[in-house]
């Protein structure tokens, strides 16, 4: 197993936006972490990437086993050996992800020089090859450009190139397409999927879009308000969602033949981490709520068909 997260809890001062999260990821596999904003999926990504202290959070409990090493226990200096080198990160907004005052080439090359010990020239060569592999035309000219001269989709490819330049084993992509045009979104998702298969990477894909998950993910972990609602292999999950929240998310995907504007959103909003209610955190938005959902936290239970589920009143059996 490449990555194995066990009972992860994240704290920001007195609030605990993420509690008891567990999931696994193998090489050559894509796991989708799905949920609305505020579900804690981005914080989970930050925790795995070792960036949590930079935004003021800390890992309160649990383990993040990466290739057998528990990243949750590594000090900052130890984490640096993983960041960029073995774990690459792609962030949400390519518009703000690049240093606006540095040429594209340097921003990618530095990773190769730092982590792979390449010379300036070798790194430049490797960068050109990498950009070409990511289907960036005229890689040489792009290297000399500044970020503001590129389109959003092109910038996101550069961010992906930066993440890949250290030849990492794990790629974490946090909403890599939210800020992009729909056509470009599809290209980037396709590209990420291809990279995983070709290079045998593990990819942790953070998204709120079940449509994206359906396109490329092998495994899915559905998060709600900092807790796991349901995990399963993607085909099984889409065929037979059992948590009402999962079903609601799937219903949000626009489908062919659907009347325009009939998209069913989920009424209500994710509670903020400072005001989590008792019981199941989804209960006040749930169409299948029982009395006990208000008071008892549903435990996360392994299911015979694989994956796990935390619900007192799950949907139809499989």
């Amino acid at each position: 197993m490449l990555l194995s997260v066990r009972d992860l809890s994240i704290r920001f001062g007195p609030v605990e936006p993420v509690s008891g999260l567990s999931f696994d990821l193998d090489r050559g596999q894509i796991i989708g972490l799905v949920g609305e904003s505020g579900s804690g999926k981005s914080l989970t990504a930050m925790a795995v990437a070792g960036l949590l202290p930079l935004v003021g959070g800390r890992i309160a409990e649990g383990r993040i086993l990466f290739d057998g090493t528990d990243l949750a226990r590594l000090p900052e200096a130890g984490l640096r050996a993983y960041r960029g080198r073995r774990i690459g990160v792609v962030t949400q907004n390519p518009m703000t992800a690049l240093d606006p005052a540095q040429r594209i080439g340097e921003q990618v090359e530095v990773v190769a020089r730092l982590h792979r010990g390449l010379s300036r020239q070798e790194a430049h060569q490797a960068t050109i090859e990498l950009l070409t592999a990511l289907r960036i035309p005229e890689a040489g000219a792009i290297c000399d450009a500044y970020p503001h001269q590129l389109s959003g989709g092109m910038k996101q490819r550069i961010v992906i190139a930066m993440a890949l330049a250290g030849e990492p084993d794990l790629l974490i992509a946090d909403e890599p397409t939210t800020a992009l045009d729909v056509t470009v979104q599809a290209q980037i998702i396709h590209l990420l999927g291809q990279l995983v298969r070709e290079r045998g990477l593990g990819l942790m894909l953070i998204t709120h879009d079940m449509g994206v998950v359906a396109q490329v993910c092998d495994q899915v972990a559905v998060l709600y308000a900092g807790r796991l609602a349901e995990t399963r292999d993607a085909p099984g999950l889409f065929a037979h969602p059992r948590h009402p929240y999962t079903a609601a998310l799937i219903d949000c995907i626009p489908r062919e033949g659907m009347a325009p504007g009939s998209l069913t959103g989920i009424p209500g909003a994710v509670p903020s981490a400072a005001s989590y209610s008792t019981g199941c955190r989804f209960h006040d938005r749930c169409p299948r709520m029982l009395d006990r959902c208000r008071t008892e936290v549903p435990p996360l239970v392994a299911r015979p068909e694989g994956g796990s589920l935390a619900c007192h009143n799950p949907m139809g059996p499989t």
């Binding site: 930079l54 703000t96 606006p100 500044y146």
Partner: protein
Amino acid sequence: MLSYLIRRLLLLVPVFLAVSAVIFLILHLIPGDPVDNLLRVGSSPAQRAEIEARYGLDRPLVVQYGIWLGDVLRGDLGTSIVTRRPVSQLIGLALPESLKLGGFALLLSSVGGILLGVIAARMRDRWPDRLIMGGVLLGSTLPSFWIGLLLILLFSVQLGWFPVSGARGWDSLVLPVITIGIGGIALVARVTRVAMIDTAGRDFVLLLHAKGLPPERILWRHVLRHAMIPVVTILALRIGWVLGGAVTVEYVFARPGLGSTLIKALNQHDYPVVQACLLMLAIAVLLGTLLGDILQAAMDPRIRESIA
């Protein structure tokens, strides 16, 4: 870049005209007849007529301004009423002294302020930050002439390390530079700290960490570089301020310079000298803003492009 420079310089022309017009008008705003204000008490009618003819004082204001501006542009700043010497000569003596003092003060303010600002930002909310910000508050609120006097009291009188006043040797520069520098360091440190904290919270910095770059390298090569954009702007804008701050400090330390010349001329009602000093300070301010714009463009490729 060159065409930008030229355009930026051309832009200064109307601004310079406006400022110089205000300075020209001072002579007409003060109580009394402008001719009297340009003459020593007890001058002969012939001298009076000469002055009137020289400045065209019987003609419309616009024409007078034209004559005055023409003279100024040819380097003729008029004649001092008190010393009867050409004002350009006085300025020629005062300007280098002020530039020397202002230059070193600016250097001290930038280096010291940036260093303290970076330390404060890195140690945010810990004791070094609190200490520095406390010092910044003091440095920006203590009157500079008072600091100067205390420094004289301590280092010149008690310890005898530096001369009390004057501008003979390099050692006479130390205390005045520190006096101006304390206010300057406080200002620069405050701006640097805020800019560093703002920049450090930006997306691309997080991604630099994610790339595994050493924190020191991120700090000095990336964060500091972006944080410097507002700092440089403030510094450039404050060139005039440093020279103006020199007014007090030159007076306290009895140094020659634009500031002390200005104060003396004000007290003696020597208006041609007052106008010339103000003009020099105004030009310094304008060049400062120009320098700020250019440095900004040099540091930020987006600005560079938008003006190319």
